[in-house]
């Protein structure tokens, strides 16, 4: 199976590939093709094509879609809608980290077309930021006044289990 085929059939799984970011866009195209979204002012209709997605995927895709449709000046300070490369960074990050027993983050738009994922637990803030100021997407883990920064996915992979433990939901986990 080629990387592209793998991305389309299993868009939320990591796949080996060459050629940089293009695969993420392809994977995203795969997701949006399999999830049909109809968003109007008062309803969101989601249809999957006989494909069971992790539960975090659809609300995440819907939210990212909404942020891409933000109007110009959405924050009254000249804010621009979510940009593709920041959307792709979020998809790449969540695809590597999320499992269905983890709390979903708040997905917050940033004025420059970037995006911030926010988890707030007791005494712990976890933020993933992709924006126009950072040289690359960065994870920030804050305990009290101490903040650790991890650039890119490679940095995150070294403590993935610890990160997941921190973000695991305390509700609804099977015994």
């Amino acid at each position: 199976m080629t990387a592209f085929a793998s991305a389309v059939s299993q868009p939320m799984h990591r796949v080996s590939y060459r050629g940089g970011d293009s695969l993420v866009s392809r994977a995203w195209s795969g997701v949006t093709r399999m999830i049909r979204l109809e968003i109007t002012d008062d309803q969101i209709i989601v249809e999957n094509d006989a494909f069971t997605l992790p539960t975090w995927v659809v609300p995440t895709v819907v939210r990212l879609f909404e942020l891409q449709r933000l109007r110009e000046d959405w924050d009254s300070y000249g804010g621009v809608p979510l940009q593709d490369r920041h959307r792709d960074a979020v998809v790449r990050f969540l695809s590597s980290v999320m499992t269905d027993d983890l709390v979903r983050p708040d997905i917050v738009p940033l004025a420059d077309g970037g995006v911030q994922l926010e988890w707030r637990r007791d005494g712990l803030d976890v933020d993933f930021v992709s924006d126009e100021e950072l040289s690359e997407p960065t994870l920030f883990v804050t305990h009290g006044d101490d903040t650790e920064e991890f650039e890119g996915l490679n940095g995150v992979s070294y403590f993935l289990h610890e990160l997941r433990d921190s973000l695991r939901s305390t509700e609804g986990i099977p015994a």
Binding site: D75, Y77, V108, L110, Q116, D125, D127, V129, T138
Partner: protein, 140 residues
């Protein structure tokens, strides 16, 4: 003080007193309700969309007072879901920021807070801000 983008950082305008309130609008995407309390998200303190400008718009409380205007007056018409928070000039200066007066035709009390605001700094600004106008919650 004149605009100095591209010519180096502007000087800190010390005519803006340390206890001067710097008002900042907070759009609905940048606040959340937790246990009935409004919380500001760090995104509320991001610089202009053009990162090279390194400036965040504010409204200067001293000028607003001179104009006998209320902080409510800086809200966009019909946007009750926006809030207004205040930062003290001294507090942003302690975070390596410079305060400028930058009057515009639309907002004579306009000012800018100049300086890098990486995520860690934006996070530190959050607890320094106080709500002046709470958003109106229509549905949460």
């Amino acid at each position: 003080m004149t605009e100095t983008d591209g010519d180096g950082p502007p000087e800190d305008d010390l005519s803006v007193e340390p206890d001067c309130d710097l008002y900042r609008r907070v759009p609905p995407d940048h606040w959340r309700l937790v246990g009935g309390e409004f919380e500001i998200r760090e995104g509320a303190f991001k610089n202009f969309p053009q990162p090279e400008r390194k400036r965040m718009s504010v409204v200067l409380g001293d000028t607003l007072d001179q104009l006998e205007r209320d902080p409510n007056s800086i809200l966009p018409p019909g946007r009750e879901d926006y809030g207004v928070v205040a930062l003290k000039a001294a507090a942003v200066r302690a975070e390596c920021q410079r305060v400028m007066r930058s009057r515009t035709d639309e907002e004579p009390a306009h000012g800018d807070v100049y300086g890098d605001k990486p995520p860690s700094r934006r996070k530190r600004l959050v607890p320094l801000a106080t709500w002046v106008v709470y958003p109106t919650v229509t549905s949460q």
